[in-house]
């Protein structure tokens, strides 16, 4: 089983890379063959990643949420899964190239640094924790997707405004669609994050001895939540539209990335179990 895991760890980045390559052909060259092949590449990668996660869960008898590298792989899976859903719904393959960059990046880092597990803290075997982590991860995936759409929105916005009609202008869906996609993903991410925070705050003080409200990850997550709460309020109450709201969405994305990576790597707290 461990051998299979290692094979998957090597293959997955290649699968992601080749899928991105096919989507690049669609975006930059509007290649008809690539358009036909894209679903096969996408679903093959999705399926392989699902297999990898299942095998890992079975092998270590717990969901892969114990190290940052397992979590990165899980986020990569959540992103490709959500993207597949978006592609089926919008029938547009033009944003795949941009979105899939992220799972490729996450999975590559995960594949390089992931280790075999030796000791698993007993606390990581709780079901409530599973709920907390799953909603947090799906929330992060939704926020990541919203960030990419925000980024694409700003690129297209800039192209149109400056009369620079590049391939971005030619191929991307229109501003309203991009804003809509980003907004839907944001709302979803916000709801999931809210659930993750509530579950965490109710359950953690009882389960973890060293629980502290000053935990960097807790502060980071609440900062993300506040940025998105401000953004949603600005949209709903003040009626912000277009560029400003998209900039805010990108700020939220940047804070999220900071919280997920830097805090996890360089700060310690009760959230660090490994």
């Amino acid at each position: 089983m461990r051998l299979y895991l290692q094979i998957f760890e090597i293959l997955l980045p290649f699968f992601y890379f080749s899928t991105i390559w096919v989507y690049a052909k669609i975006f930059f060259r509007s290649n008809k063959l690539a358009e036909r092949l894209a679903p096969y590449f996408l679903y093959a990668t999705l399926l392989s990643h699902a297999c990898y996660i299942i095998i890992r869960t079975l092998e270590y008898s717990h969901p892969p949420i114990t190290t940052i590298f397992e979590i990165l792989s899980l986020i990569a899976f959540a992103v490709i899964f959500s993207y597949s859903y978006i592609e089926i719904r919008t029938r547009s393959k033009m944003t795949g190239y941009f979105i899939l960059m992220l799972p490729f990046f996450f999975q590559t880092i995960s594949s390089i640094f992931i280790k075999e597990l030796t000791v698993i803290p007993p606390i990581l075997r709780s079901y409530l924790l599973g709920f907390h982590v799953t909603s947090a991860l799906l929330g992060y995936a939704a926020i990541t997707i919203s960030g990419v759409y925000g980024f694409l929105y700003l690129m297209l916005y800039h192209d149109i405004k400056s009369s620079h009609f590049s391939v971005i202008y030619k191929r991307l869906p229109n501003l309203e669609i991009l804003e809509g996609m980003s907004f839907t993903a944001t709302v979803l991410g916000f709801i999931l994050l809210t659930i993750a925070i509530i579950v965490g705050l109710i359950w953690m003080p009882q389960a973890v001895e060293k629980f502290s409200y000053a935990d960097p990850k807790l502060i980071g997550t609440i900062a993300i939540w506040i940025v998105y709460a401000i953004g949603l309020a600005a949209k709903k109450i003040i009626g912000w539209q277009g560029r400003r709201i998209m900039v805010l969405s990108l700020i939220g994305f940047a804070v999220t990335m900071f919280s997920m990576t830097i805090i996890n790597m360089f700060f310690s707290g009760f959230h660090k179990f490994y």
Binding site: S30, I160, K161, K170, L175, G239, Q241, R243, R244
Partner: protein
Amino acid sequence: MNIFCLGINHRSAPIDVREKLWFSANEIPTILSFYKEKYFKETVLVSTCNRTELYYVQHNTELSGEPLWKILAQQKGAELFFQENHFYSISSLNVVKHIFGVASGIDSMVLGDVQILNQMKEAFALAVENQTAGFLLNRLFTAAFHVGKRARAETEIAEGAVSVSYAAAELASKIFEDLSNHTALLIGAGETGELTAKHLAGRNLGNLIITNRTRKRAEDLAGKLGGRVADFENLQAELSHVDIVISSVEAPSYILSAGDIRQAMKARGNKPLFVIDIGLPRNIDPESNTIDNVFLHDMDALNQIISINLAHRNAEVPKIQQIILDELTRFKNWHDSLEVIPTIQQLRDRFESIRSSEVEKHRHHFAADKYEELEILTKRIVNKILHTPMANLKNGTPEHSETETRNKIHTLRHLFGLEKKD
């Protein structure tokens, strides 16, 4: 190949000459009947604003008398306007190649023009209706329509806007998803503005408001395009509830300042506003483009879109040429396979002449009643020998039947010395 084309187009003659040879759909039936009766076996006349082309299949005899271009010009009573070099005259496979180029849009004045295919279909329908398109032109036009269809499906030859009004409409649909929820304000009743509004309406624009210094002209246009007329003095008030502004008035200075637009943006909750300024000199302060969610574009920007799209269409031409080459080969194979009937006939004639001459030579060996039997017997033998090969030749093989049949015909003609046709 007995197919010919006489034509005049944007490359061979200037517009003042071309327009003299434009035939309306009402005139064409008379012309077609005239040619069919007097000169040709089959004929189709295609006439658009950029080309007039007469496709025809000749009878076996060569045309004599006045040159065809003169006869065509005479139909319009305008032969003095034309010179021989205004026309091109092509024949055989070159006609096939030419009509495929026309149908695919690479021969159009605006590369990739989508209208030409429909115009060809209409011209062909007129010929069918008047019974002047026969077996050969039927196949030629059907093949040309197939090329046109392939060109649009397999390449991007017709993609992207190549006119100012269309480019403006295309730009609008890069900002808004569904135009049916949006309102456009047309300032001025000029032609380009009108065309832009028309293109937007074609994309399901929700509402149209028209304003003009002379209210009457705005009302006329509103009657034509639908929509409501607003007072020119009320421009600022109208701005607050529209999402698209098309401005094309002649004015010495800006009719809308950046301040006006900023104020309007506040009033409309900062929702995106798309402003197309096609006035010369410009109608709207270019400074407005610095305001958040305002997209201001002038003629330069629209022309830039057009030239990018044209360059893209140009890059698609080699793909089209490949399609034309494929279809040309197919057409030629089909045409070659037509030789099957005359070949069978010639082969029968050849066998029959051998049989009858041999029987004739030995006639004196037989009594009259026996001679008749001999005739029947030898005929039956010849028929039986020829039956299977002829049947196989006619049916061909299910796959690549045209190519196979053509090869068989060549072999047969060679083996039996039939190469020289009558």
